[in-house]
């Protein structure tokens, strides 16, 4: 920290502070983006590299004073998410909004965990989503216009426009994308084609910007699995049954049928 007072005076505006907690790599993605836009950023990770679940061994560090906005970016470990949201609600002044990923738990359900229900707004956060031009935002029945306005300004400062959707588990893009990935995994499990060919087919046949397998690698199988499991629990429909191959990839990081190359042979 510079000691000279003249240096402090140069800063005409105080930097806004953002506290970002949750799973890797979403925390890092948002932290990087907020720093680029001039925010003072504090982070706290609840998961290790690659999104593998590791409960924090130490007691969570205290939340610094003067935070203007908090982001909670946990999708897979709901217990951690609940702890994080409660910790934020207790530590932050009531004027500080909490923007929380509501891909696997609805924002309304999250608001029910805390006293300051007015301050929590949901949005679609998944790894690799942070640079997208639209923010899929889900206000809850408790969100006053003031909270929504804060969120709109925050996303605006990151260059994003808000698209307000209903507060539903899975939201819009995560639900569509993860079901495409799930279907691709069912097809791989049935050995319809090789993973590379599935990606090639979707890119050349229907002009997908990325193949489903590439997408799953980018988002992370654990995240896709967490999202689909949440969809299945929410809607209680077989439609969201997770492909065993996808589950296996999420839990072990290995192809289910080790040593065999999908797409070869007949039943």
């Amino acid at each position: 920290m510079p000691k000279g007072t003249h240096k402090v005076k140069e800063k005409t505006k105080q930097k806004a502070s953002v506290y970002i907690t949750g799973e890797s790599p979403m925390v890092e993605e948002y932290a990087g983006m907020c720093r680029e836009k001039g925010y003072e950023v504090f982070t706290h990770l609840v998961s290790g590299p690659g999104g593998r679940l590791t409960r924090p061994t130490k007691k969570s560090p205290s939340i610094p004073r003067g935070i203007h906005l908090a982001l909670e970016l946990t999708n897979a470990d709901i217990e951690s998410k609940k702890n994080n949201i409660r910790r934020l609600d207790e530590a932050l002044p009531p004027t500080c909004a909490i923007l929380s990923s509501s891909v696997t738990v609805s924002a309304s359900e999250q608001a029910a965990w805390i006293k300051g229900k007015h301050r929590l707004v949901g949005f679609a956060a998944m790894p690799s989503f942070s640079r997208q031009p639209l923010a899929e935002v889900a206000p809850t029945m408790h969100s006053p216009i003031e909270t929504i306005e804060v969120i709109r300004k925050f996303f605006g400062s990151l260059g994003k426009e808000c698209e307000y959707v209903q507060d539903r588990v899975g939201m819009v893009l995560p639900r569509i994308l993860c079901q495409i990935i799930n279907e691709a995994c069912f097809a791989l499990q049935d050995e319809v084609a090789s993973p590379e060919d599935v990606d090639t087919a979707m890119k050349l046949g229907v002009n997908y910007p990325q193949g489903p397998v590439e997408w799953a690698d980018k988002i992370g199988f654990q995240q896709v699995y967490a999202m689909l499991t949440a969809m299945q629990n929410d809607l209680q429909e077989d439609r969201y049954r997770v492909a065993p191959l996808l589950k296996q990839m999420a839990l072990t990081g290995e192809w289910w049928k080790h040593g065999s190359s999908p797409g070869e042979g007949q039943p």
């Binding site: 989503f129 997208q132 031009p133 639209l134 899929e136 698209e163 959707v165 209903q166 539903r168 939201m171 819009v172 893009l173 639900r175 569509i176 994308l177 079901q179 495409i180 799930n182 279907e183 691709a184 069912f186 097809a187 049935d190 050995e191 319809v192 084609a193 060919d197 599935v198 090639t200 087919a201 979707m202 050349l204 046949g205 229907v206 002009n207 997908y208 910007p209 990325q210 489903p212 429909e237 077989d238 439609r239 049954r241 797409g263 007949q266």
Partner: protein
């Protein structure tokens, strides 16, 4: 290497195929291709083949449909000439390579026949049976089906090992993908020849097992299905879903725009067919919104109204 490939004319890049080292250039080239059915797909495939310097026998039972197919190809070539992309000589050369036929027995010189008739199992099986009698025993016979079982169609042949699926995408003279479908009895040799022809046509073959929807139609189902569910649950409007999918997902078109383009009826029947073929698997269940729109004749662009209105021009 890339530059070399770009400078080659359609079809010439086959000379660079690694298969040449094994089989030799001449053996592997298909010189006479038969196409059965001169509809949108058959015509498009004929066009792609003629551009790749293959002699095409284009068969249709209906002389009018044949002439219309030739007209479409000629119109596209003329358009290319006016834009300076095609020379007059090339246009003539492509057109003279396509030989319209109204008699199946005229396909006998073909080493390879692509069936692109309507999606009806009985008609396709019947055609396969006739093709087997009218072609050399060494000829490969493939079907361009998108929704029927290749294995079931091939069962009409005494030698089903020489049959496979070759699923082109519309417009067939432009889209690069071909799903090469290995039926239950398709031989490895047949599969190799089919992949080679795809290469000769300048396409990228992807080998898939004969299962409902193959890869593309199957993996694309949730793109429409989940979007319809979201709409049905009033989670977002169709405009919002399209915006999010395009802006954030990077897709060229949103699911509702695409359903309007494909036609609600076509999209619904593909979904229904997958649902039936997988014996009621809930992932493929069609949505009542689709059914109601089809029932009301709201079929998308072709009727001027789908999820969007197309009264004036586009949306």
């Amino acid at each position: 290497m890339k530059n070399v490939l770009h400078n080659l004319k359609d079809g010439e890049h086959l000379a660079l195929s690694p298969f040449n080292a094994i089989y030799g250039y001449q053996d592997i080239m298909i010189k006479h291709l038969g196409i059965v059915g001169a509809g949108t797909m058959g015509g498009g495939i004929a066009y792609a083949a003629a551009k790749a310097r293959i002699e095409v026998a284009l068969y249709d039972i209906n002389d009018t449909i044949l002439r219309q197919a030739l007209e479409r190809i000629k119109a596209d070539l003329r358009h290319g000439v006016t834009r300076g992309k095609v020379t007059n000589e090339e246009m003539t050369a492509v057109m003279t390579r396509i030989h319209p036929k109204t008699d199946l027995s005229n396909l006998h010189p073909c080493e390879f026949v692509i069936e692109a008739a309507i999606e009806d199992l009985r008609i396709k099986k019947d055609l396969f049976k006739h093709l087997e009698t009218h072609t050399k025993p060494s000829a490969i016979i493939v079907t361009n089906t998108s929704s029927l079982s290749v294995t079931a169609i091939a069962s009409a042949l005494r030698k089903p090992e020489r049959a496979a699926g070759m699923h082109f995408f519309n417009p067939a003279h432009i889209m690069k993908l071909v799903e090469v479908v290995r039926g239950r009895n398709t031989s490895d040799e047949t599969l190799t020849t089919v992949c080679n022809l795809a290469g000769q046509l300048g396409k990228t073959p992807v080998v898939v097992k004969d299962t409902p929807g193959f890869i593309v139609n199957r993996v694309a189902r949730p793109f429409y299905g989940e979007a319809l569910r979201l709409l049905g649950e009033h989670a977002a409007t169709h405009e919002q879903i399209d915006r999010i999918v395009k802006s954030n997902g990077g897709f060229a078109m949103g699911p509702f725009e695409l359903m309007d383009l494909i036609g609600l009826d076509i999209n619904f029947s593909v979904t229904q067919s997958m649902y039936d073929q997988f014996f009621g698997e809930p992932r493929y269940r069609p949505h009542p919104i689709q059914k109601q729109m089809v029932d009301s004749g709201t079929l998308g662009r072709k009727t001027g109204k789908g999820f969007y209105s197309y009264d004036d021009q586009k949306k």
